[in-house]
Symmetry: C3
Subunit: 287 residues, 3 copies
Amino acid sequence: LTAPGDAAPAPGADTVFFLSDYGRQDELVGVVHAVLRRLAPRAVVVDLTHDVPAFDVRAGAAALSRALPYLGPGVVLAVVDPGVGGDRRAVALQVPGPGPRWLVGPDNGLLVPAARAAGGVERAVGLPASDPRPGRAVQGPATFDGRDRFAPAVTAICDGADLAALGVSLGPTTLVEAAEPVNETRTLDDGRHRLRAEVTWVDRFGNVQLAAAGDVIPGAVREVSVTVRAGRGDPGPLPRVRTFSDLSPGQPGLLVDANGRLALVVREGSAAARFGLVAGAMVEAVW
Amino acid sequence: LTAPGDAAPAPGADTVFFLSDYGRQDELVGVVHAVLRRLAPRAVVVDLTHDVPAFDVRAGAAALSRALPYLGPGVVLAVVDPGVGGDRRAVALQVPGPGPRWLVGPDNGLLVPAARAAGGVERAVGLPASDPRPGRAVQGPATFDGRDRFAPAVTAICDGADLAALGVSLGPTTLVEAAEPVNETRTLDDGRHRLRAEVTWVDRFGNVQLAAAGDVIPGAVREVSVTVRAGRGDPGPLPRVRTFSDLSPGQPGLLVDANGRLALVVREGSAAARFGLVAGAMVEAVW
Amino acid sequence: LTAPGDAAPAPGADTVFFLSDYGRQDELVGVVHAVLRRLAPRAVVVDLTHDVPAFDVRAGAAALSRALPYLGPGVVLAVVDPGVGGDRRAVALQVPGPGPRWLVGPDNGLLVPAARAAGGVERAVGLPASDPRPGRAVQGPATFDGRDRFAPAVTAICDGADLAALGVSLGPTTLVEAAEPVNETRTLDDGRHRLRAEVTWVDRFGNVQLAAAGDVIPGAVREVSVTVRAGRGDPGPLPRVRTFSDLSPGQPGLLVDANGRLALVVREGSAAARFGLVAGAMVEAVW
């Protein structure tokens, strides 16, 4: 985290990037959209995803971090919030850009990785217990802060409000950080290298993203021996490839994925199903 | 329902609130969006939800009613329509605002609860058998009224058409109303009170909303004995709390939810799964 | 496919119609939206669907073709792309309109049926290996062309770029075409007619769309004997009806659906579940 900066960003924003674990089966996402539309009618809302596993702050933080480099100017609204209504803080963060300049959500580890990816927290404020727009009365429910606290704060930022008008200043170093995923590499006695890395994401296709950067394995390595912990069967030696079509259909392999991370994949198939892997599982690779 | 009013709302609208049971797995929702975009290019569409259980008019009506207080000006397009193509009427309703001034959809009980929440039906018209915009020929299919009848009517309203131009006037009292959910409270011989209430909604997290208003149980009551009918095990005595974080993780309780209704919840867990509850199930509470 | 035309469409577009098999559980769709928002801030994105079954090019092509007649002016961005990163070409196609004038995606059979429905391919270009906008460097990942190749090409078209500026000209007849679904009718020895048709789509409600046009069975035929191959039980003689409400709840029948195709349906029920049918299954009908 950087020290609090002096520079205020240009006021206002016209794009809201919205991520949550609300799902789509209910009207929760739609109601937040409606509040944004009512309070900031000129803002366009880009839904990143609303299918973060319920209450899974780390998964939400990972998705937001992956998306961040591709976002243009705007405000991030992120809600994965098992502690809603409790004493966890609600915060708005300011970051340097050139992407989104603000992130709004619960102070539970969801925002900090993305804020770091955006250059670090310049300023942070804690939002009041209800609608933070000036002059609004504190309201009743304490179970739907996305609608009642975060969305109004986002629209105030869209309208050009300075963070100082929205809440009390917080030291960026006091923000809650989630545990980093396991990601360790060491050299074995025989000169080979071993990576031990946590699964950070299983995508829709069953591709298994690891916490490790794609370049941890030198480009010249053509084959890697992979072991899974608490999974189903060991992949064994796998080819290191550039893309899916370097594999034959159904063949597993390792590649550097679209986020620059190491990923275990099966061409036109699910590596997660094949090897019994879910987010949080541990994978070892030796080369 | 109120009597038909004289006041016409300001013509036109620039927001469409869209709810359906079309799901997202097909292109149905997208095609309706495309029609709205083509016919009313300046309107913004806010999707409330499209995952109302198939054909479940009451669930759709409940979702729309819950959302309504949070919607700004605009037109509601709502389609949960097991009788499509049959003799159920297609209608457009006018309500007082300050939120949406119009609701468009089938006359099967889907719209009336939301119209009531919006202040009551001021005017109602029955839409013709196909595209209701002036001068359009009657078209063939009778299975996708969202695309062929309702969306064109919505865009005509966005463009400022008066309801009278869209169809024949209907008496608001002739509109079909769905059965109200069960919601009964009575005093027992021993002076305690018993609530018998239907489950109106199980949300994505497994929170169980009841038909009962949150204030049916006086605020001073700290513990309520809860029984479920046709569920799995009885919750027994449950704490009455303000919010999730007044419970420990995994603990069940009762609270007033974000819609002001009584809800059976489990912190960071699913009350529906824990007690075998689905929409339509019956819950009894004694205090 | 038509021969390449001379007429250039009016430059630029303000609507993007987006279809993929990315699903909604991850941030993939949201990231593509963010790229579109950043590079073409005035364009509105209409999501057709993102739940095409993973890697199922034919299902994606069918959905896009069904949607096409309802789309207004704009650009289609379609990505169902099991060959991403390989030697399949990435293409942008120009068609006559009056709907979308351009389609962008992989050259694997996904786009051609919709292009044909839009009047045939007038011009086609192959996109370079990365961001095709002039002056952009070739980038690294080869696994997320929706984000890195197709979306930038779409935004260049939105901005008024001519196809010739985006890639090398291709002969429209060289485009890959997917296998057509089975759709055969013949007259039997006894004078009756037999249709053999592939299931092209099972929608959210379980309606079973066949490859056959709705008018293959003359309007006067009131009953059709239906047999399913590799399904569960035979429907037997079914009524031919105009719409769902001509059936009683739970009753199966045949109708011409909202796309003008023959469909096997059950009123307020799932014909797919009832008869064990999925996309690709074969249905025979005799009348």
